[in-house]
């Protein structure tokens, strides 16, 4: 499985500079109940451009629920999430335009080829980056698999198609729920390199993971969920 990580990184045009006066993503005393269990409560979060927040904690501590609440996919039982000062419930479209979510299941259609999957993701996304679909697929190591139906690809390769979605769109906030699952060592390096570049360009990321994320000169905020 030829996976080559390009040496000279394709120059990606920098993200649109945002007004930096207040942190982009904030959450005040978030609480979440699953069934009758209280996963977490009184959680405050503030994430700004250029920062990476790592959400760590044992299984079942509510990492996935927290990420889904911050994306607006789930409702907290208490507290409020704000993007650029606006509640995400009210500013839903503006928030979704600057957000990309990579969940447990990758959201790649098996009947489509990686190329088609990316094309649709880009057409529906808020802002599109200058990277062409083929270049994005090349960068995530799917060269040669562009036109094979995604169901014939391995789980790791389908995860890479989902990662390619991040390259073809111009999302300022990446929310990744255990992005390293099903990825080989090259894949893990690819994700780390993508995060580095994204954060260097003023993007921000929220990653839940059990692995150590080796990224250099990046401001990491660790959030421990019991």
């Amino acid at each position: 499985m030829g996976t080559s990580v390009r040496q000279s990184p394709r120059e990606y045009n920098p993200l649109v500079a945002a007004d930096e006066d207040q942190p982009a993503l904030t959450a005040e005393n978030l609480a979440c109940e699953r069934g009758d269990r209280l996963l977490f409560s009184g959680l405050n979060i503030s994430l700004d451009a250029g920062n990476l927040m790592l959400v760590e904690g044992p299984n079942g501590s509510g990492k996935t629920s927290l990420l889904r609440i911050l994306c607006g996919l789930a409702q907290p039982s208490a507290g409020v999430v704000r993007w650029r000062g606006e509640e995400i419930g009210k500013a839903r479209e503006r928030y979704c335009a600057e957000l990309m979510y990579l969940g447990h299941n990758h959201g790649v259609k098996g009947d489509f080829t990686p190329y088609e999957n990316l094309q649709i993701a880009r057409d529906l996304a808020g802002a599109q980056s200058a990277v062409t679909l083929d270049d994005a697929l090349y960068d995530v190591g799917l060269a040669g698999f562009e036109d094979a139906p995604a169901r014939t690809l391995s789980a790791g390769q389908r995860r890479r198609v989902a990662l390619a979605r991040l390259l073809v769109t111009q999302a300022r906030l990446w929310v990744m729920d255990e992005p390293f699952t099903a990825l080989d060592t090259d894949g893990v390096m690819l994700v780390e390199k993508m995060l580095e570049r994204h954060l260097a360009q003023g993007g921000m990321a929220l990653v839940s993971t059990h692995h150590e994320v080796r990224v250099t000169e990046v401001n990491i905020i660790r959030l421990e969920l019991r």
């Binding site: 109940e33 699953r34 069934g35 009758d36 039982s77």
Partner: protein, 257 residues
């Protein structure tokens, strides 16, 4: 008004208020129903045409009114729960459904019993009976959806959407069935009365009020039980339990407090 909803919406406040209210409402219900039955069964006259079977009206019509009233109230409670996220409203909606379904079932059975002497068959596709049957399906759909979710919060919100959609469709279903009935049976032998004398009207209204209060009694009891279940690891429930345990609840056997 908003403060009131929020204050009354708190389960603790609701539990204590409903505790005091329940005996009175229950008493009033029993009084009304006994009075209604006495007037309906004993003093009011038989109908010249239907003779004694008209007495079934005194439970059929109040049940029919209740079945519709409870469905709409359920939809309103569900909407309040969905929009303002008030847990108590979700409980009221979830608990009202079986009660409403029971009244709808009663309406159907008493309707067919009432119609049998006149129509000669146990079931007649009469407009009102058919609408009640469809209303029963709406109730069953709501209850089935409610129980299909594991997470109570999701169950409440999903069934709230269904209750609102259902409530919006009830008038449409009612008029299309009415319309369908006149289309196929020009002369509709409807169950019920054209004119009601005063002596029959009183028992009917008293029974209707009695049935509404009965719904409130069952609703309060079921809601109180549900609140205790859902709030059991809250402080106020534990205090209540300590207080009751202190007074050896088992011997005193009172369960309204």
């Amino acid at each position: 008004m908003w403060l009131w909803i929020h204050k009354f919406g708190s389960p603790k406040y609701f539990y204590s208020v409903s505790g005091k209210l329940l005996p009175w409402v229950a008493g009033a219900t029993v009084l009304l129903i006994v009075m209604g039955l006495y007037l309906g069964l004993v003093t009011s006259p038989a109908d010249y045409q239907q003779r004694e079977t008209v007495r079934i009206m005194y439970i059929h019509v109040p049940s029919a009114w209740n079945s519709m009233f409870i469905y709409l109230l359920m939809a309103v409670a569900a909407a309040i729960g969905l929009i303002w996220n008030i847990k108590l409203a979700d409980i009221v909606a979830a608990v009202s459904a079986p009660i409403g379904a029971s009244f709808t079932f009663i309406t159907l059975v008493t309707g067919s019993l009432w119609g049998k002497p006149m129509w000669g068959t146990w079931w007649e596709w009469d407009a009102r009976l058919t609408s009640e049957l469809i209303l029963l399906f709406l109730y069953l759909g709501y209850i089935a959806l409610q129980s299909a979710f594991e997470d109570r919060r999701l169950a409440a919100r999903a069934s709230a959407v269904l209750a609102i959609v259902g409530a919006v469709n009830v008038p449409i279903i009612y008029y299309s069935v009415q319309w369908w009935n006149t289309l196929h049976q020009p002369q509709s032998l409807g169950v019920g009365m054209s004119t009601i004398h005063l002596s029959m009207l009183w028992p009917l209204l008293i029974m209707a009020l009695g049935f509404k209060l009965l719904y409130v009694v069952i609703l309060l009891m079921r809601t109180r039980a549900e609140v205790l279940e859902r709030e059991r690891n809250n402080a106020w429930v534990q205090e209540l339990a300590q207080a009751l345990a202190g007074r050896d609840f088992f011997r005193s056997g009172n369960e309204y407090r």
